[in-house]
């Protein structure tokens, strides 16, 4: 029986990992291509949640989840063109400062626009409740969430590995100078990557709004987790981030089973252990321009 309970936590952890993945993957992509650690990534997650609620009030839950990422991704284009672009070749400390500042501005802007009090958010009645598959209990809503994450993940993987767009991006990560020498401007690719990353974060916000509290500082909360996932997975590695997100979810579940008080600390411990033995992260590639 004990083993079964543990297994249930492992499976639940895998679902939870999907939850972190949407945020972490975008963060990792933006870092890999542009060399910028986007500390404002959480702000787009928060905006995604707020905008989705705003849309949902008028057009319903489905429209909120579908349109909010599009709207925020458009904002992401402006963010890349007017701010991020200036910092690709600059000292990393500058991009850290500017994105950190932007995160604060965004949080305060949300507070001004929507108020400091958390906004109420509910899922449609049909998603409420759990289904029992075999011996395992799943929340219906999280199964839906998992399906969305898997679809997005497959889409991004195909885009990066099966299209000419993806080839240029992957080449740009490793040898930007070579790509330039071949006469390809990386900038439009970078704009697209930032747009995708920001859109994924907003999708995360829109999807999580019914299950976590929607308040101005929600972006800062998720950013820490996303950052830990990226570091564990290894920069520049698609599957590294996927693996790390699932691992963090599973480790958290198992820790809650045995030492509940340490559940939030478990991912930091995991990060510590991984970095001790693999400083580049689990599947991190060697990227020359960062060395």
């Amino acid at each position: 029986m004990q083993v079964l309970f543990l297994l249930e936590q492992v499976v639940n952890g895998l679902v939870l990992g999907g939850y972190y993945l949407l945020i972490a993957l975008g963060l990792s992509l933006i870092f890999s291509v542009g060399g910028v650690v986007n500390l404002a990534h959480g702000a787009f997650y928060a905006l995604g949640a707020y905008v989705s609620l705003e849309i949902a009030q008028r057009l319903g839950f489905g429209a909120g989840v579908a349109l909010s990422p599009v709207a925020v991704a458009l904002l992401g284009i402006a963010f890349e063109r007017f701010i991020l672009r200036r910092f690709y070749t600059a000292d990393p400390i500058l991009s850290l400062l500017v994105t950190f500042g932007l995160a604060l501005v965004a949080e305060q802007a949300i507070r001004i626009a929507w108020g400091a009090a958390p906004l109420p958010a509910s899922m449609p009645q049909a998603f409420k409740g759990a289904v029992v598959l075999g011996d395992f209990l799943f929340s219906k809503y999280r199964l839906f969430l998992l399906a969305v994450v898997a679809t997005v993940l497959a889409g991004i993987w195909l885009l990066l590995n099966k299209t000419s767009f993806g080839r240029v991006v992957r080449a740009g990560i490793q040898r930007p100078d070579m790509v330039a020498a071949l006469g390809i401007r990386l900038q439009p690719y970078m704009t697209t990557i930032v747009m995708l990353g920001v859109g994924m974060a907003a999708l995360g916000g829109a999807l999580f709004a019914p299950i976590v509290i929607v308040h101005p500082a929600m972006g800062a909360e998720i950013l820490t987790v996303a950052f830990v996932v990226v570091v564990i997975g290894g920069l520049g590695s698609f599957w590294g981030v996927v693996l790390a997100a699932l691992l963090v979810g599973v480790v958290r579940g198992i820790t809650t089973h045995f030492v509940p008080a340490a559940s939030e600390a478990s991912m930091y411990l995991l990060m510590f252990l991984v970095l001790m033995f693999r400083p580049r992260g689990l599947l991190g590639e060697r990227i020359e321009k960062f060395e």
């Binding site: 309970f5 939870l16 939850y19 958390p118 009645q125 579940g253 809650t256 008080a261």
Partner: protein
């Protein structure tokens, strides 16, 4: 063209605008109230209501001619965290020369401000923090506490739960926030369960920044308790409530701490169970209804319990200053300790207990209205009868002297 003269003119105008009100204030010798409350962080949403509440009280008092003919001047600032709170408290006494300090919601920040008040031998009215130890072993003679302590919250919800048969002979599963306030709450809740014949079958600690409760919900499902009782704080309450509804577990749920704002943030149809509160906008007294109407007119929504408590606290302070004709700390302490009665907009008046400086007042349990009965998005809580019952002394839900380590 802007020239130097224009800039000088603008500068002078600015200086006049900034400088003159200060002079005007000095002439009428306003009474300065230093007000610290969290406006950011995990309690920031509550602090925003606190500021709105105290502002309405100050406007009413000043419109009626102030206190002893002097204006009340409330300086509200973000207390941020315990360290900043204590620095700001010291600065308000020393540089801003405030007459009294008021405010706070965070128990840890309240504790550091209490130490500053004690060192300076000046009055601090601790309005919104609920930890038992503040009015227990950490109490001091310069601090008075308005909000109910956690023992009262546990008694308010617990008596309702016991009446409904959820305690005696039942298996109870606890989920507790892992910090000062949560531990305090769990201690009081365990004592209540033990005294009323309930068995605690599990008590899990959760970090204050827990956003995902799903692993805990799976453990609760395995334990199959009769009652899930939460000792959570701030955003945790909302996260838990949302996810409990998401998983749709069949066990009765209850909690020993909830602010109306946490319930509002949970969203339609998510909240269930029995919870305690210190005040609610549906309380049927003329005072409460007048305050609610006024707040609605200004802010377009009903006041949260932190708006109410700040409003009545400033009124309590003004009453004490008017009665003693003084802003002197010693005179005010003497007045508060005298058992003077205060109108808290509830059915029964409140008063400060002289030996631990706790405001003794009614508390209330509430449940959730059945679906479809809510008039608007603020209106889904079903407000219960006051505890203690009208024929019992108000003090009976507070910790007795034998169970309280406070020595003033």
């Amino acid at each position: 063209m802007t020239n130097r003269r224009d800039i000088l003119k603008a500068g002078t105008a600015g200086a006049l605008a900034l400088g003159f009100p200060a002079i005007v204030r000095a002439q009428s010798a306003a009474i300065k109230i230093g007000h610290l409350t969290p406006m950011t962080g995990f309690l920031g949403a509550l602090g925003v209501y606190a500021v709105k509440g105290i502002q309405i009280a100050a406007e009413e008092i000043n419109a009626a001619g102030g206190v002893m003919g002097r204006r009340l001047d409330v300086m509200s600032e973000d207390s941020v965290n315990p360290a900043t709170a204590s620095t700001k408290a010291q600065r308000m006494f020393e540089q801003d020369k405030v007459d009294v300090l008021m405010g706070e919601i965070n128990s840890a920040s309240a504790k550091t401000i209490m130490q500053v008040a004690d060192r300076n031998k000046r009055l601090f009215m601790q309005i919104g923090a609920r930890s038992d130890v503040l009015r227990g072993k950490d109490c001091n003679r310069y601090t008075f506490h308005v909000d109910i302590p956690v023992t009262v919250m546990v008694n308010a919800a617990g008596q309702a739960l016991a009446r409904e048969g959820y305690i005696k002979g039942k298996k109870i599963y606890f989920l507790t926030s892992d910090y000062l306030f949560g531990h305090d709450l769990a201690k009081a809740a365990k004592a209540f369960c033990a005294a009323n014949g309930g068995t605690v079958v599990g008590d899990e600690l959760t970090a204050t920044d827990t956003t995902d409760f799903s692993p805990f919900l799976l453990k609760i499902r395995q334990a199959k308790p009769d009652l899930v009782a939460t000792n959570l704080g701030g955003n945790q309450v909302t996260n838990f409530v949302k996810q409990y509804a998401e998983f749709g577990l069949p066990f009765q749920v209850a909690g020993f701490n909830l602010n109306t704002a946490d319930a509002w943030a949970a969203g339609d149809g998510n909240l269930a169970g029995i919870w305690p509160t210190v005040w609610h906008h549906e309380l049927d007294t003329p005072g409460t209804q007048a305050f609610v109407a006024k707040f609605r007119k200004i802010h377009g929504q009903p006041p949260e319990n932190h708006a109410w408590i700040e409003y009545v606290s400033l009124k309590v302070m003004a009453q004490a200053m008017n009665e003693t004709k003084s802003v002197d700390t010693e005179k005010l302490i003497k007045y508060f300790e005298s058992g003077a009665q205060f109108d808290l907009l509830k059915k029964r008046n409140g008063y400060f207990r002289a030996w631990d400086h706790q405001m003794i007042q009614e508390a209330y349990p509430f449940t959730v209205k059945p679906k479809g009965q809510a008039k608007d998005k603020w209106d889904f809580l079903k407000f219960g009868a006051a505890v203690p019952a009208p024929d019992q002394p108000l003090e009976s839900i507070n910790p007795p002297k034998s169970a309280n380590a406070c020595v003033l």
